[in-house]
Subunit: 197 residues, 2 copies
Amino acid sequence: MSKKAPIPLKDSCVEAAREVIAEKGLEALSLREVARKLGVSHQAPYRHYPSRDHLLAAVMARCFEDFRMHLESRPTSVDAEHDLGELGRAYLQYANDHPLEYRLMFSTPWPAPAEHPDLVRNAVFAFDVLRNVLRLLAGTMPPEEIDQRALFIWSCVHGLCGIRTGDVMQHLAIAPSVTDLPGEQVLAMISLAMRPV
Amino acid sequence: MSKKAPIPLKDSCVEAAREVIAEKGLEALSLREVARKLGVSHQAPYRHYPSRDHLLAAVMARCFEDFRMHLESRPTSVDAEHDLGELGRAYLQYANDHPLEYRLMFSTPWPAPAEHPDLVRNAVFAFDVLRNVLRLLAGTMPPEEIDQRALFIWSCVHGLCGIRTGDVMQHLAIAPSVTDLPGEQVLAMISLAMRPV
DNA sequence: GTCTAATGTAGACACTGTCAACAACGTCGA
DNA sequence: TCGACGTTGTTGACAGTGTCTACATTAGAC
């Protein structure tokens, strides 16, 4: 028990904020609610985060970190093409298991990002996971073309996740069997599109 | 000049709300701001919309209506496959020209949708545009399979739009030439995937 | 010990959504 | 004509929020 670490308030705030978002939605996130949850005065969090947006940025940065770690912990494979498929599956699974976090990262207006380098950095790190796989898969390919393929693949997978985690989907009267299906279909099509190098 | 229509406040509110969102973002949308913009008391909008969420739902419903009209005004084509391509182009163009509206429709938490049938109805109408094209393209195909294909196509196109209109994109240090490219690529791949009926 | 910086507290302000009471207004039946 | 009535808009109030300022506490360095 290191005496020096009673979980600093700065970290507790991020955790509490995630709970508030999970329980009552992003709209209901307020510094005062976080303070109440932690049993401190309404100004205590303000000492560590200059504004609500800074706390939100910290939460989002944490999400990107978790997301990257989840992607990197996918089943390993030496075959680059197969590895790309595993990456896609890991991506789909994360969005399915953590819809709130997914929405936060990709469907929420970023809070004045120039002031939050951590957020930007962690987001780039997550995207780099895909870049690295493609670099192995494509061998000697100009970086620009790698990014182009990455963007294409990301688009296809993100589209499905964005629709699934969004609100529109719930009200289109589409059968659940239909909803669940296209995951593997999208992945198969991506690997098809990557073939003719 | 019909004496009876000095633009009812109810409609003006939606228009003013769209302006506020365009100028200051969704977060800054408030009934009071709308009232100020229209030069009425802070409670006047409240007479027409029981809550801020109801006004927001009206704005979103209007967006879906505009979106559907834009899709339906695409260049006509008798060839169903070519028509699907035109639909995709129209979709991409709308998201490109109206990123705020696109975000509002597909990346914003819906305000208690059960209470806003207009919103749901207009969203379904927009999705029906795609359904109808596929119905023509696919001939006699069970509705479930049509929805499955619609979801697949929508995923691919929406993914690109969602990424383009999102905030993540702006900070990944990707060359603009790369960003602009995959539009036609995605469409080509969709038509490829639709081929082997 | 004392000085200092970090950390947390208390109070105030403007802003917001929302509720309740009230005023202006046209409409319609007597 | 007139008065009851529903519609629309106004005014005032309340709690909740972000944020500013001033103050208290506390731990560590000298």
